[in-house]
């Protein structure tokens, strides 16, 4: 395990879902889902297509209300966070496709707005946090490049830097490594380690593919409408195939785990 990873079991959870259910019309998408992420903990949420990952993420972030059960982010209801900057969110690509040539620095600086108050001009400390966030994802030399000139992996790292800029306590990433080149994956892994080491932040990674970070995970949660498994990756390896998940999916998640 890398330095900086490792959960603080005694601390109050950053994110806690209890008995969450959700249905679109009559078709149940989530049934009695409970999970927690604590400070310093690195958790992956995996599941096949249609397993309810995206719906669960929207419920956890407050853009969909839970029909049953409850969600608490930093102790608040997710739609009414008192300190929303404590949550760093990296959406699935491509939510941002810049029409106008906005630079990496301009995009990352927006990540600081909620923390300092969006009506305030940036202080020296804000500028320093933005510079630091860009450096931590290895884009220092490309900070002044228009983001629409970067490769997919570089753009994804810019969005991670935007989430880092607020120095969040919990980082939520939606499919951040799908289709990203190996060099970017390694930088991605390093930058997560950096955030967790620097700030003791918790990380929830929603992904199809864990190979880049499999070694660092504290826990894996397997979702297929309900939580099929929640525990350390080594236990998943031992009992994984009996979970009833599509058998072709498992090796992909566990690639790199030995």
């Amino acid at each position: 395990m890398r330095p900086g990873f490792g959960s603080d079991q005694g601390a109050a959870p950053l994110l806690a879902a209890t008995g969450v259910s959700f249905a679109y019309g009559r078709s149940a998408v989530l049934e009695d889902v409970s999970l927690q992420v604590r400070p310093g903990e690195f958790v992956a949420l995996v599941g096949p297509n249609g397993s309810g990952k995206s719906t669960l993420l929207r419920v956890l972030l407050g853009s969909l209300p839970a029909q049953r059960g409850s969600v608490r982010l930093f102790g608040d209801a997710p739609a009414a966070l008192r300190e929303p900057w404590r949550l760093g969110y990296v959406p699935q690509r491509p939510t941002l496709a810049s029409e106008v040539p906005a630079t990496v620095e301009e995009i990352v600086a927006t990540g600081r707005l909620a923390r300092r108050g969006w009506w305030r001009p940036p202080s020296r400390q804000d500028r320093e946090a933005v510079r630091h966030a860009i450096g931590s994802v290895g884009l220092g030399e490309l900070a002044l490049r228009p983001i629409n000139q970067l490769s997919g992996g570089q753009q994804q790292r810019a969005f991670i830097a935007r989430a880092f800029a607020s120095e969040p306590d919990l980082l939520v990433l939606d499919e951040p490594i799908a289709g990203v080149d190996a060099g970017s994956q390694a930088l991605f892994r390093d930058s997560l380690a950096h955030l967790m080491a620097d700030h003791g932040a918790g990380v929830l990674l929603v992904s199809h593919e864990l190979s880049a970070v499999a070694q660092d995970l504290d826990r894996v949660i397997v979702l297929k409408r309900r939580v099929l498994f929640d525990g350390p990756p080594s236990e998943l390896m031992a009992g994984g195939v009996s979970l009833g998940v599509h058998s072709q999916d498992l090796p992909l998640w566990l690639e790199g785990l030995t």
């Binding site: 040539p101 990540g111 909620a114 000139q149």
Partner: protein, 300 residues
């Protein structure tokens, strides 16, 4: 101020009416591209056109009610703009469809009201096609006043506006006031449309918001510099268009927009070899290039 300018300005700006036109037109050349930069980034380039048509209904209402049409146009445009935003934000209709609904209702209401008020006359044509050479002192004051309001709002709210128009979903999750910001932008668009209405005309307002940005983003390397270039193009085209319209007796609104379009084409031709969409190779990381290259060519 106007008298003093009359002494110093050369042909074709020496008469007082040209100086009024110049002040009003340059004001539009500043605020329209500024707001347009945000609209292009939001992929709502054509909203100005839709709001212009709603403003036309407001002009008709003003003529019937015997009120100065600027105020009724402002009322209609602000209402319509917030309505479009309301429909778009609640996904009751896509941005496109929301626009179409208001756009056609607006122009239809405008046609009905204008005919009821006595049909097309010179004043109506002025609102439709622009009449900068005949704006009076009071109209210039309103245009400059609204323009200053828009520019101040853009300068104050620029950062949060940029965050929201760039990535609305993310901005919402991150705790930025997406609803408020979108509505403020909608109101600013409406104010800009009404302020520009008499200069370039309802039918050409969207062009002044968007065409300078189309040229500016080819020259710029950041959002901020795109805005600066767009304003420079907007102001230069406004001055050149106004001069050309007096010298060759052309319709000023159309001339200004044609010069803006010509400027865009000239910039596009001059920059076409730069390969703007190409991937940037990362210093010291040549290994990923093969899989990351898009259809364009890599350039540094």
């Amino acid at each position: 101020m106007l008298t003093m300018l009359a002494v110093t300005l050369p042909y074709p700006f020496e008469p007082l009416f040209m100086q009024r036109a110049l002040i009003a037109t340059v004001t539009v050349g500043v605020f329209a591209p500024m707001i347009g930069t945000f609209l292009v980034q939001k992929r709502m380039s054509l909203i100005g056109d839709g709001i212009g048509h709603i403003a036309f209904a407001g002009v008709g209402a003003g003529l019937i009610a015997g009120v100065w049409p600027i105020w009724t146009a402002l009322l209609f445009a602000v209402g319509g703009s917030i309505g479009v935003e309301w429909l778009r934000a609640r996904r009751r209709a896509s941005g496109d469809l929301a626009l179409a609904l208001f756009f056609y209702s607006g122009i239809a209401l405008g046609v009905v009201l204008v005919s009821a008020s006595g049909g097309l006359n010179a004043s109506i044509l002025g609102y439709l096609f622009g009449q900068p050479l005949t704006v009076n002192r009071q109209e210039v004051q309103v245009i400059v006043g609204l323009g200053v309001l828009i520019v101040l709002a853009m300068l104050t709210l620029g950062r949060v506006l940029f965050a929201v128009v760039s990535d609305e979903e993310w901005a919402g999750v991150s705790g930025l006031p997406v609803g408020v910001v979108n509505n403020v932008l909608a109101v600013l668009v409406a104010v800009a449309v009404v302020a520009a209405m008499q200069i370039v005309g309802i039918l050409l307002i969207a062009a002044m918001m968007v065409l300078p940005v189309a040229g500016g983003q080819l020259l710029a390397h950041s959002f901020k510099s795109t805005m600066r270039w767009s304003v420079a193009i907007g102001v230069a085209s406004s001055v050149a268009g106004l001069a050309a319209s007096r010298i060759w007796n052309l319709a000023p609104g159309g001339t200004i927009v044609l010069i803006t379009a010509g400027t865009f084409m000239a910039i596009a031709l001059a920059t076409r070899r730069r390969g703007r969409s190409a991937t940037v190779p990362e210093p010291g990381d040549p290994g990923h290039l093969a899989e990351d290259l898009g259809p364009g060519e890599a350039t540094v």
